[in-house]
């Protein structure tokens, strides 16, 4: 175990983007938020024809909490997109670059089994990267909550500041759950990328994408069906419907914001955590089938790293 931890730390030393990419995005969000807050304060001071006090005055505790969660959800979604891209490129690089620069010979001079090395790369993708992203999310979210809360306080309502801590804690717990199920669900994709990274001599991204595309095309031509494409789509985006409740009673609508000009329709349920429903995903064959496929790809990646001899 201490070996794996040391190896994961080494991955973070090598792949600085794991921390930097989400951190830069987080900082960007905070910056935009800060500018917006300055805007609110400026309107308040110049108080032209905008009835800011009236808008703020229409807030109640629930809406205030929902506002915090709306802002944080936006950050979470964007950080997640960044994270998935970082993970993709990390995994494609992690077993390929060491062969390309021959540093694999150094790693192989240490008493490490190939299984523990490949496991450390998978742990980096499935645990360390999500955790780093969560830390960035918490830090950026905290800054944004304080900035927005203070600005709205200035505009005349303390509700955002007071509703914030609970709404914030809920969002973090919610995000942690989402990251955990997403990691589990993506395991077969992660292990596929590890295998490609261990095997490919060049153009790793191409080798990662071509085989699934080829399967889809061949299936379409030979059988006229789209099973594999559906399967892949399920794997890419199917985790969320499974991970969260499908019970309409629990998805109760508590806050609705409608704007006739912008056509915005946002819904929030009372207590985000009401949506969390691990039962269905843990019972789904998709999750366990995926883990099985992941185990096969993982074993293949270990075998390839062990026996591929191209240095």
């Amino acid at each position: 175990m201490s070996t794996i931890i040391a190896l994961v730390r080494r991955e973070l030393w090598e792949h600085r983007a794991i921390v930097f990419a989400p951190a830069i995005f987080g900082a960007l969000f905070v910056l935009v938020n800060l500018l917006a807050a300055v805007g609110i304060v400026k309107i308040q001071i110049e108080a032209g024809d905008v009835d800011l006090a009236g808008v703020v005055g229409s807030l109640d505790a629930l809406k205030a909490g929902a506002l915090v969660q709306l802002g944080l959800a936006l950050v979470a979604v964007w950080l997640n997109i960044v994270m998935v891209l970082v993970t993709l490129f990390y995994l494609l690089d992690c077993l390929y670059a060491e062969r390309k620069d021959r540093s694999i010979l150094f790693w192989k001079s240490l008493p490490l089994s190939d299984a523990s090395v490949v496991a450390s790369k998978l742990c980096t993708a499935a645990l360390a990267i999500p955790l780093a992203t969560l830390v960035v999310f918490v830090a950026a979210g905290l800054c944004m909550y304080l900035i927005t809360g203070t600005a709205i306080q200035f505009a005349g309502s303390s509700l955002v500041l007071s509703a914030g801590p609970l709404a914030f804690a809920e969002t973090v717990a919610f995000h942690l759950y989402a990251l955990a199920v997403q990691s589990l669900w993506y395991l077969p994709l992660f292990c596929w990328l590890l295998l490609v990274s261990a095997w490919s001599r060049r153009a790793v991204l191409l080798w990662a994408l071509l085989p699934p595309i080829a399967v889809i095309v061949v299936e379409q031509i030979a059988l006229g069906t789209k099973h594999f494409a559906t399967l892949l789509q399920e794997r890419l985006i199917g985790v969320y419907p499974l991970a969260f409740t499908d019970d309409p009673a629990r998805q109760q609508l508590v806050w609705r914001y409608e704007d006739e000009h912008a056509d915005v329709d946002l819904q929030f349920s009372e207590g985000l955590l009401e949506l969390v429903d691990p039962g269905r995903i843990l019972g789904s064959p998709g999750l366990w089938g995926g883990i099985l496929v992941a185990a096969l790809f993982f074993a293949a990646a270990v075998w390839t790293r062990r026996y591929r001899d191209d240095t």
């Binding site: 070996t3 540093s103 001079s109 490490l112």
Partner: protein
């Protein structure tokens, strides 16, 4: 005498090219063995087989274990420097020490630090910023701080200038080597290591041409410097090779009769490089 490596009938082909062809050899504890051969002779393939980095046919035991199945156990006791500049470029020197410290149970950090303090390698440099010579010094520092039984070096000084090369082998011999350690080294710059070797293995096109200790080489081979008028007499005795040097003919004999040879001219033990050329030519003939 403990045998660390035992190979018999070791073979490996890349397509139709035989990199190793029924090679059999043993490496014993406390020896410094030079594996010497021209480019493409199979040196690196032999080392890779020993280190479990490549597949092969035949029997091979390293520390009593099969490198194909138990390589990570073998690597507890075996160290290797594959070539210069395989240390990861993004790593800082200090973190390289941290890492090996965490990952290798036999690593003694203070030894590596002590060695590095005598070089110009700075702890907070990135490996990518170090010169080739400094990277080799760092690698040597890491390896020397590991209590290993067998050290494998594959062209460790390739691309280094003469000062670094001399220093490298001097350090290895003075600060590292003792009767419990064993070194297996390949190089084609034979002259540089012949005075530190205890054994040599010549390899050519996958086959072993010679496998002798340096002591027995002195007994078995003799170089005689003969005046031109005695050259014909020397040729009658079936020399391995003949070359001209400073107006004299130099003949190399294997298992020659010392009495007869002494008559011909001045005798001495041949250099490994000359012996190597002669053995390879003999095989080609």
């Amino acid at each position: 005498m403990t045998t660390l490596v035992k190979a018999s009938g070791l073979s490996k082909s890349y397509g139709t090219v035989k990199a190793l062809d029924q090679a059999s050899f043993e490496i014993h504890q406390g020896r410094i063995v030079g594996l010497i051969g021209p480019n493409g002779a199979g040196k690196t393939t032999a080392l890779k087989a020993v280190l479990g980095l490549t597949s092969f046919e035949g029997k091979l035991e390293v520390l009593g274990l099969d490198p194909r199945r138990e390589r990570h156990r073998i690597m507890q006791d075996v160290c290797f420097i594959a070539d210069v500049a395989v240390l990861p470029k993004w790593l800082r020197v200090r973190k390289a020490l941290d890492l090996v410290d965490r990952l290798h149970p036999r690593f003694e950090r203070s030894r590596a630090e002590d060695f590095l303090s005598r070089t110009t390698v700075r702890m907070d440099s990135k490996i990518g910023q170090l010169s080739k010579g400094m990277v080799t010094q760092l690698h040597l520092a890491l390896v020397m701080a590991i209590e290993a039984r067998l050290l494998v070096l594959d062209e460790p000084t390739l691309g280094l200038d003469i000062l670094f090369r001399k220093e490298f082998y001097k350090t290895l011999l003075n600060d590292y080597f003792d009767e419990n350690r064993t070194i297996l080294v390949t190089t084609h710059q034979v002259e540089e290591i012949e005075n530190i070797l205890t054994d040599v293995i010549f390899i050519d096109r996958g086959r072993l041409v010679l496998d002798e200790s340096m002591d027995s080489i002195a007994d078995r081979f003799v170089e005689v410097s003969v005046k031109p008028d005695r050259a014909e007499a020397a040729r009658q005795l079936g020399p391995l090779s003949e070359q001209e040097m400073f107006g004299r003919r130099v003949f190399l004999f294997e298992n020659g009769n010392a009495e007869q040879l002494r008559d011909l001219g001045e005798m001495r033990t041949p250099g490994i490089a000359d012996l190597f050329v002669a053995k390879i030519k003999e095989r080609s003939a």
